[in-house]
Symmetry: C2
Subunit: 329 residues, 2 copies
């Protein structure tokens, strides 16, 4: 079992300095290097960062590279906000499988008098959250989640391929710069018949890892599982592994200190989302789905780890692939 693309629960609670593992130290060092280079900016909470303009230039180049590489799939492009409808979030059952990663949104709907009480509580140093109520939204956990409700109904013959990109939120504070609380994912989602959904995942996974290798990354595919919560979750995870429902592209960011970090994944959801969201194949039976995901900050950090923090000195071919030839020219 490997580290997953932003889903493995972290146990990075601060430990006394002498208890820190070699892996923790390696993470701290990489984090310090990235911050010192100004590529990421500490945003005041573990796993929360700002990015430099250059960092996001790499991300933008990567998205364009993915779009070019998979243009033959003729995906429809959609982008969603970092918050989604709570009703749809409920349909995904995310809070059942991954409560430890969830983020919900609260807002204030009170009167002027309620607000005065909120302020008074705040001034006494007390919590003011009790004056808030759940809003109509939650944070998006996987950028494909807001897609499904939009596809309710019957798919065309041959299915649909969606290119979606946006912010994900996972509540997993960490010292590892590879593990962010808020990060961007690029996904390609397929919905259609069962065989096509499986083939899409298998074929595109091979193309995904090859594309990442062509950027110079020492990347390989492994079977993986999501970090389902609790005791029941252990069974779900081992089923997922046995079914090879989840493949990950991993890169050894920290040498042999761990088995590598997932930077991308290929997920065969099968008949999970189709029935939940009322998405049918052209023949009227529930659609199957699969999706390919790139962790945009993780791929970028893997590139920086591999080619160095000085982007101007990256191999010319990699810079050209990512539209970065002007950097340092």
């Amino acid at each position: 079992m490997t580290d997953t693309l932003s889903t493995t629960p972290t146990t990075d609670a601060p430990a006394a300095a002498d208890e820190r593992s070699a892996l923790d130290v390696a993470r701290d060092e990489f984090r310090a290097e990235i911050l010192a280079a100004g590529l990421l900016v500490d945003a005041g909470q573990p796993g929360l960062y700002g990015r430099s303009g250059l960092f996001d230039d790499i991300v933008d180049g990567l998205c364009a590279y993915v779009a070019r590489s998979f243009a033959d799939q003729k995906p429809e492009r959609y982008r969603f906000a970092p918050v989604m409808s709570r009703d749809e979030y409920e349909l995904t059952d995310y809070i059942v499988s991954f409560p430890q990663l969830a983020g919900t949104v609260n807002g204030f709907r009170g009167t002027d008098a309620d607000h005065r009480q909120l302020i008074a509580a705040r001034e006494r140093g007390e919590a003011w959250d009790p004056y808030l109520v759940p809003a109509e939204t939650t944070l998006v956990s996987a950028v494909c989640h807001p897609v499904y409700e939009r596809l309710r109904g019957t798919l065309p013959e041959g299915g649909r391929v969606i290119n979606v990109r946006g912010f994900s939120f996972r509540h997993e504070p960490s010292n590892d710069p590879m593990r962010l609380q808020a990060f961007r994912m690029q996904e390609l989602v397929f919905l259609g018949d069962p065989a096509a959904a499986k083939t899409f995942r298998d074929v595109m996974s091979q193309r995904q890892v090859k594309g990442l290798q062509e950027l110079g990354l020492d990347a390989k595919i492994v079977a993986a599982n999501d970090p389902f919560f609790g005791r029941t979750g252990k069974f779900l995870a081992s089923n997922q592994l046995a079914d090879e429902a989840k493949l990950e592209v991993v890169v050894k960011i920290y040498g042999d200190l761990d088995e590598g970090t997932a930077i991308a994944s290929g997920n065969h959801a099968g008949a999970h989302f189709g029935p939940i969201f009322g998405i049918d194949q052209a023949d009227g039976t529930p659609a199957h789905s699969s999706c390919m995901a790139w962790g945009l900050e993780r791929v970028t950090l893997a590139l920086l780890r591999t080619h160095g923090l000085d982007v101007a000195a990256w191999p010319e071919s990699v810079k050209a692939d990512l539209g970065l030839s002007h950097v340092g020219a």
Copy 2:
């Protein structure tokens, strides 16, 4: 007083069809046109949308246009996540001034047993929010908010100019497609001495409106105020108006049905943020600040309203300015 850039509290609670004002009807019609054209996608809650790839191509072109237009300011580029540190959110006092717009984040930190209770409550159709607790983050309300803590300390002579872009969240569900719950802002933030902060706002506001006019928008600058909450807020708002602390660039999206919609703004925060975040001028006294903001979805929608929903048919000069010459070519 005009509609502000995403900050005026909305009173768009659903009304019986025959109670809807002509303005409401005009908003509904524009919303329906934008959705029918596939430029925005209804994401299941009032004010929550997905965007088509083409919509975001316009936004990207707009950001590049702003970057070129203000390149002489040599801004440092930073981008932040849609969530920010709750400690810093507290420092902004946003919950005091704009509780009605705020969004906080909750997460689950319980045990396996707690989770079983959460699931049982959910299966009984009860709220499961009571099993969550406040997380370390809140949604970002203004994209400059995560910037200030990063500048703590003493500014260089001449101050600093920051180019920042990201998602804002404002809890104001609406039928108006110009008013989103989650939207992107491009900002240019200045921190330095008092005179320079005021001059920056005044000079850049003129350049801001001119740049938007050059894109074909019938835009003008007006004095405005933020929608401070409650009775006390009324005084703050009228002070802000009297001080001309906030200028807005407005476009009449709905003809003479209202006074126009803000698509951009220039804000003179003066000595507000400097002392709060411990940002000093080179001489050791608290820094003053000002910022210019573009509502990226709003400018894009104003362009669509002005030039039509068929981007291929937009004036060639506008397409060229926004890097869209290939659309329909």
